[in-house]
Symmetry: C2
Subunit: 130 residues, 2 copies
């Protein structure tokens, strides 16, 4: 199979759903996924994997429940953050935001344990780009 | 250790060396690295791992030696590409370019097999951000 570069702008333009990641490329047994987000995701935890976020556009907030208490990190466009495995977290975005994620193939968007998943959050291991 | 977000613009501003990746964050046993590049890298191959490229600014070319012959993929800013493991490749950039890379921790910039490494190419497994 011949691979071609993927323009992220075109990839983002190819879908409208929020909190519903698309897989743009696979690196060994990891997915690079992109998602459009706005509003609140759900508290969840990945017990066995870190999760990487890069903000392409907008602003992502990630609430974290750490040993020292709860805090929220703010990621403006062009910033990156890794949520450590085992850390409960809840992403949210005050405005329409475009993010790129990296995590092992098969990782669920709502983790291994989570609060009740609201209708606007897609519980998925990622969708193919179409 | 409390993690904080990293602004890529500040991270890029913190070093000047070309073809000399800095590790901005670690995701499980993978590094997210950034590099400033211009001119030609060296033909090399990673026998055991794919390598992911995201172009933050500028334009990256990646020459590939595939079963069907040699070709060059062109990645404008905002595009991504994964070089499959075992594929000889040579990145180059016609202008000053900023890239983000993803590969397993310990992966050498010149792969497992490579042409003679020119002086302007840093053979490294990545440097810490300072």
């Amino acid at each position: 199979m011949t691979q071609e570069p993927v323009a992220l702008a075109a990839a983002f333009a190819s879908f409208a759903e929020l909190w519903s990641p698309r897989i743009v490329t696979v690196v060994n047994d990891y997915d690079v996924r992109i998602a459009k987000v706005e509003g609140e995701h759900v508290w969840h935890v990945h017990d066995h994997t870190d999760e990487f976020f890069l903000v392409v556009e907008g602003e992502l907030h990630i609430a974290l429940r750490e040993a020292g208490g709860e805090r929220t990190v703010v990621l403006p466009a062009g910033s990156v953050f890794t949520v450590p495995r085992g850390t409960e977290h809840k992403p949210s975005a005050p405005v329409r935001t475009a993010i790129l994620l990296l995590e092992p193939t098969g990782t669920s968007t709502v983790g291994d344990r989570h609060d009740e998943v609201p209708d606007h959050v897609d519980a998925t291991t990622g969708h193919a780009l179409t």
